[in-house]
Each structure stands twice: as structure tokens, then as C-alpha cells.
Amino acid sequence: MRKFAISAAALAAMMGTPVLAQDINVKLGVLNDRSGVYADLSGEGSAVATRMAVEDFGAAEKGMNVEVISADHQNKPDVGSNIAREWYDVDGVNAIIDVPTSSVALAVADITAEKNGVLLDSGAGSTVLTREQCQPTTVHWTYDTAALANGTGGAVTNAGGEKWFFLTADYAFGHSLEENTMEVVKQNGGEVVGSVRHPFPSQDFSSFLLQAQGSGADVIGLANAGGDTVNAIKQASEFGITQAGQKLAALLMFVTDVHSLGAETAQGLNLTEAFYWDQNDTTREWSARFEEQMGSKPTMVHAGAYSATMAYLEAVEAVGSAEDGRAVVAKMKEMDIDDPLFGKTKVRGDGRVIHDMYLFEVKAPGESEGEWDLYNQVSTISGDDAFLPMLDECDFTKK
């Protein structure tokens, strides 16, 4: 925390622009799923994390007037777009935070560019946000499907899981995750022996799992999320698939999903995350404060909302105003961030945030010392390896 403040202060000094912080008004809107499948991994927790960031940044002491509001986009692009427009046009919101569900995030990213606001995305997974539909006002903080594929896909293939069968949620996110992972598997000398696309959401996976079992694959890749992943893993264990030697690779899983499964069922799973509460003293201390308010440990999406807000406020202070979204994001891209939760972090020219990702393995019930003591860290994947390289046309620092 202190390092963060010092480096930012140094930065501000370097800029040589003394700022009258008293004049800065900032309004932040946390827009995410507050009632549906992603409500636990984002939801109110992201609003709590954002408010913690405002407090830790010391906005009040610096004389900055920061207000945080929140709303439910119900995972519907039309609902999300309407709220975003209203926030920018009527309520004077300067930045929209979180926005899980890629389809909604893409819609909000376009509106944000049009209104010259800032999108600090933590919850969405699609790489399209910083590639095909990149915007100068988008900052994509926490993770994306390519990083997940590189992490889990690469690790499992290298550990001897050469033949893959995919169980893919039949919508944009699932397809994108499947495609990214297939590429990584092939690059690492693996082979894809089949795939099946299941309706989203599904309750029963037994039929698909039996097809995967019959395929002779070493690894069943789960290119889905939330309740679908939880159900698929639960049933794979029930049908003796994992016991028979086939491995499961959950390509997107949050700590809340693992908690929901319980260590008994989830043990031994490999998964990739950008943040885990029990990594070091700082993350533990921060997570304990979060838990006091939310009653559960934070996910990487919550952590992303916190850190993105910190960096954003830092940039706003340096620029001297939150009005010009493009200028604030450009400032964020100049900063060297030593983030308390994500470590060394850099906002790249295309808005993709580069930080380390981690490969975890779920602990066995005997090893686990508490209901949230769930992961062993297997390896660290450096940010440059985890994320896709930047597309030239998306490098907004050049323009």
C-alpha cells in the first residue's frame, strides 16, 4: 500500500503539475450481475471492494470527493447499455467498474468510448475487449480467456495430458475459451480428440461426460463457467470419471465455485487465477477486511475492482480531473504500478493490464485448514506469457 502511494507521489512529482485535489469530483459506477449466476463472484462484493479502494486511496484526506454507486445489469447487454448511458448522461458518472459477462462488457465499452468515460473491467473474460473491439477508454484488469488457456491449458498438457476432449458452453464466452485453449493444447504438442457443446445453462452433464469418457481422452476440458462447471465436476466424480484416471481441467473457476463444490469433490483440480486471498500478508490482510463486510473471501474479480479503482484514482489525481476519460486512461498507461494485490502491474497501450497469473491446485480435504483454505500455488505465469501480444492497431499510446 505504502509503496503504491510513494510511487504514485513520485510520479505526480515527476509530472511537475501541482494538483488542487480539492476541486476534483469523481463518480464511480459499479455495474455487474447482482442477482444472477455471477452475483457471488462479482455483485455487491465489487462495490465493497471499490469503496475500500476509495478509502485506502485516502480520497477524503486528499480533498477528492468520490462517490460510488452500483446497479444490476442482469447479464443483459440491453439493460447494461441503458444503465451506462443514463449514468454518463444524467448522473455524471466518470468511470464504470467491473462489468462481467463479455457481451455486456463489449456494449458498455463502446458507449464508454462514445461518452469519453472510462471502463475499468474486472469481471469479463473475452479477449475481444482489447483486440477486435479495443477502445482508448477501456482498461481490462483481471484476466481474459487467453490467460486462462495459457495457464491451465499449457500446464495440464505439459503435465502429460495430451489428448483433450472439450465440454463447451454453447455461447460466445464458451466458444472463445474453447478456441483459445485448443490452440494452446496444440502448441504444446497435445491433440484434441473431440468436443461437445452443451446448452447454457445445464443441470445434467452425465450424458456429455459419458461421451467424453468414451472418447479416450486424457483430459476433459471444461470450457464453461459458474454453476455449469460446478455441476459438471460434481457429476464427473459421481460417475467415477476422475477416479478412472481421466483428468478434469476447469478452464474458468473462481474461488467461490471451489468453495461451493467443497474440497472433497474439487481436490486435485488445476485452475488459473490472477489473485488468491492467501498469497501473502498483504492479500490476507486485505481479504480479512473484505470478509468483515461481505462474509466471504474475495474473488479475483473483487480484487481487480479494488486495484483498478486505486490506479484510476491515482491517474485522476495526476491529471487533475476525471472529466476526460481518454486523458485519465492515457495517464494510467504511463504509470508503473506496484499493486498491493497484483504485484508489478502495467496497463498496456491497448488497455490490457499485464500482471502475473498463477496456476493453483485445489487442496485435498485433509490439507485444508478452513472452509476457504482451498488452493496450493503450483506456479507463476509471467504476465507476458499469460496474455496475448498487443495488436498494433490497438496501441493507443502511439496515436
Binding site: L41, P199, P201, L210
Partner: protein, 295 residues
């Protein structure tokens, strides 16, 4: 012949069996709906939420009171049934003289409230519930690995379904019930307490949903939305079977489970809609449903 379809007989057998297992849930749930609709004329949209409650009550019994799966299998339906009776007494009973639509709207609203409350307190990710010790593991049937618990689900649902059918169609109590729906005034005149009977019937129909919820708890994620996803399919099952037909609801439940299972092999993307396609076809050809009597 099977080989021509690109699927070997063992795989086909496996998928048929899986379909039967899923059909078990459809059958128990649609049976409850059919009982409530057939005898009370209420379209009970809260059925999915009550199914979810069954699973949650089982979880609460285990985690708050330390009561395991087997007692919960009896206790949870009773608790959910009692909750249903409360709803019937305080709200539904005021709507009997109105159009079906009012009952539907009320129960739909109740479903949203119940789901919202559970979501608020327990979150959306779901809670873990282990398969009981006795039924863990499974049998190798040669063509597939059948988890013991799934076998138990099929057996339990068949017993409950046919027990209910027998009680309503073949016993004196069932005869009273059916008579009371035809002419409540006359049956009341014979000294039968009709409102009490209707109340208990609703409680029983709801308890069936709770029972299905407990059966589902160890294999599906116990989360507040588990019923919302299922209820629409179950309504389609009831419509295909014929609204209010007890045997129709049971048989259609198993049959559609099997058809859905087969779709998952031949065209997985279509497995979410196949039941609705069948519903549309049945409504065009035989609007009263496969087992319904023409109105």
C-alpha cells in the same frame, strides 16, 4: 443398425439409462403439478422454488441440526409441505373462485420472492451436499458405470410416483378427492371436510416437489436458481402429458427424459429445446395432451 447411426449399442444403452434418471426428476415434479392442477385447478408456478427449498432444507438440516440424508428425505418434504399449506391457507385459498390466471400470477410472484430471499442469504454459487455413504460408489454394468445414487433416484421416484397414482385412482380417499373436485358442494353435504382435503392435497403436491429437491441435492448444485431452470421444462412435460392427468404426467416425465437424453448424443445443441418442439407438435395434433381427455 445402431452402428449406422454412428453409435454403438452399449453407448445407446447408457444414454437410455441416463435419460431414465433425468426422467425421474421430471416425473416426480410433473406429478406434483398434475395433482395440484387436476384437483385444485391451480397452475402452481412456485413448484420450482419449492423444489429448491427441498434441497435447501436438506442442507440446513445437515448443517444446522446435524440431521443426515435419510431422515431429511422424510423431514424436508414435510417441512416444505407445511410451508405450502401456509401459502394455501393465507393466499391461494382466496383465489379459487377466480380465473386460473390469478393463481398463476400469484405463485409466479411467490416463486420470485422465495428465490430472491434464498439468494440474498445463501448467494448464488450453491452449497455442497455429499452423497450418503451407503450409496456412494457405483456398479459397472458393462455398458456403463452406474453410480449407486442414481440407481436409487430411479427406484425412489418410481415408488413415489406409482404410490401416488394408486392412492388417487384406486383408494377411497382418492375417490373422495376426485369427487370433491367435480362437485365440492355435494361432497361436502355427505360430511366430507372439503377445504381440509384440498389444503392437504396442495401440501402433498408441494411435498413431492420438496422430495425431488432432496433427491437432487447430492447430484446437482444446491443453489437458489436450481428450480427456476427446471420448472419450465416440467410445465412442458405436464402439457404434453395432458393437464391434470396423473398417469400422463408420470409416463411423459420418464419418456421425455429419455428423448432428451438421446438428443444429447445425436445433437447436443438441441437438447435444451427438444421438449418444447415436442410440446408444440403435441399441441397441434392432440391439444388435450397425450393422456388427457378431450375437454
Amino acid at each position: 443398425m445402431f452402428e449406422l447411426l454412428g453409435i454403438s449399442p452399449p453407448v445407446l444403452m447408457g444414454q437410455l439409462l441416463l435419460g431414465l434418471i433425468n426422467g425421474s426428476f421430471y416425473a416426480v415434479l410433473s406429478l406434483g403439478l398434475a395433482v395440484i392442477f387436476g384437483l385444485l385447478n391451480i397452475i402452481n408456478f412456485a413448484h420450482g422454488a419449492l423444489y429448491m427449498m427441498g434441497a435447501f432444507v436438506a442442507w440446513m438440516l445437515l448443517n444446522y441440526v446435524g440431521i443426515g440424508y435419510w431422515p431429511a428425505l422424510i423431514l424436508a418434504p414435510i417441512i416444505v409441505g407445511a410451508f405450502g399449506i401456509l401459502l394455501e391457507r393465507t393466499m391461494l385459498s382466496r383465489l379459487y373462485h377466480l380465473d386460473h390466471l390469478y393463481g398463476l400470477l400469484l405463485t409466479f410472484g411467490l416463486a420470485l420472492i422465495i428465490q430472491g430471499l434464498f439468494r440474498n442469504y445463501y448467494g448464488i454459487s450453491g452449497l455442497p451436499y455429499q452423497i450418503p455413504e451407503v450409496l456412494s460408489g457405483g456398479q459397472n454394468l458393462g455398458f456403463m458405470f452406474l453410480p449407486n445414487y442414481r440407481g436409487w433416484v430411479v427406484v425412489a421416484s418410481i415408488i413415489v410416483c406409482f404410490g401416488t397414482w394408486f392412492m388417487i385412482e384406486k383408494t377411497r380417499l382418492g375417490a373422495y378427492l376426485r369427487a370433491a373436485t367435480e362437485n365440492p358442494v355435494l361432497v361436502g353435504a355427505f360430511g366430507v371436510n372439503v377445504p381440509l382435503m384440498i389444503m392437504l392435497t396442495y401440501g402433498f403436491g408441494v411435498a413431492l416437489a420438496g422430495f425431488a429437491g432432496v433427491l437432487a441435492a447430492p447430484i446437482y448444485s444446491v443453489n437458489p436458481n436450481m428450480g427456476a431452470d427446471l420448472i419450465i421444462v416440467v410445465f412442458a412435460v405436464v402439457v404434453i402429458g395432458g393437464m391434470g392427468s396423473i398417469m400422463g404426467a408420470i409416463l411423459t416425465g420418464y419418456l421425455l427424459g429419455i428423448i432428451e437424453g438421446l438428443t444429447r448424443v445425436f445433437y447436443p445443441e438441441g437438447s435444451a429445446v427438444v421438449i418444447f418442439v415436442i410440446m408444440a407438435i403435441v399441441l397441434m395434433i392432440k391439444p388435450e395432451g397425450l393422456f388427457g381427455r378431450p375437454a
